[in-house]
Symmetry: C2
DNA sequence: CTTGTAGTGTTATAATATTACACATATAGG
DNA sequence: CCTATATGTGTAATATTATAACACTACAAG
């Protein structure tokens, strides 16, 4: 199983995610409009998080709208339907690495190269679930983000 | 051990936290200035997170400064030294419930009453540590926040 | 066709946070 | 004590992130 920071065929990430989104939308009566699709493509271009206004700059260059609501609406659609996540620590957005699978994402954010790797967990079966259960707290949403240095950047630092 | 949402003598929370901060600062040559102390007191008034500008409104009323940097500097001091935390999901700040102890906080945020309970974990000994180790990722900071409904609010909803 | 739902375009504004620079205070070393 | 340096404060300006409001458009269901 891949846990993340190593090299990979990124073209596959993009195609796979777009196809999954296409399928999911047509099966669920959702409109995968031009802007929504383009925002997802922009997010998929690299495994980093992009700020809403960075995305907006891309869209604006392409004549797809120049006002904040354009991008925030598209992001809201993508996040709601599980095609992207908001990285709270960065106030930025990242394409989902496991689209179509219900999951509680865990993000590892490299503060050097800014790459982000998303893994998943089952919060209800971890210490979070145990703690919440002990407190009688019902979990609806989780934010789990870890900042640090990825393996590549650790190696680079040693040179 | 208390995990949180039940009633308690809140006066104790406040006094205890302020004393701990006093002691820590004098032992470490840090200046626990009037503004810093007041911001911590304001945060300690309830187990909720406050936005920077909410805090600023308090300070402003009391003649302790009216510009954003005043409160952001105080918050930076409190967060850096472990007396408060930023709740990333809310872009808001909360007094630390375990001051003086090095820890990775876990927050349970009730979306109904907005109370926040902080528990702690040892990330390196949990699934996070395991996953990060498998990826060769070195953890420097963690954000773990859970949103949901606390026991009191679940009971209220049943009435 | 017409009516309702969802989506878009645009203006304006709100909410959160930082930069920069002048000035004040605290503290350590002589 | 005194002064040099580091640390903290005051303030104006601005950057960044996000939402509200409203008019208009497209499309699908009845």
């Amino acid at each position: 199983m891949s846990v993340g920071f190593e090299n990979h065929d990124h073209t596959f990430c993009i195609q796979d995610a777009l196809e999954t989104a296409d399928t999911y939308c047509s099966e669920n009566g959702l409109q995968f409009t031009k802007t929504r699709r383009r925002v997802l493509e922009i997010l998929l271009m690299q495994h980093k998080a992009l700020g809403a206004y960075d995305i907006l700059a891309h869209l604006s260059d392409e004549g797809l709208g120049a006002q904040p609501p354009v991008v925030y609406r598209a992001l809201d659609f993508l996040v709601t339907n599980g095609f992207a996540h908001k990285i709270e620590k960065l106030n930025a957005y990242s394409a989902c690495s496991h689209p179509g699978i219900s999951h509680s994402p865990v993000f590892m954010i490299c503060r050097v190269c800014e790459n982000i790797v998303e893994t998943k967990t089952e919060p209800l079966h971890s210490f979070l679930g145990t703690t919440a259960e002990a407190a009688g707290f019902s979990i609806e949403d989780t934010v789990i983000e870890v900042e640090g240095v990825c393996p590549s950047c650790q190696k680079s630092a040693q040179i």
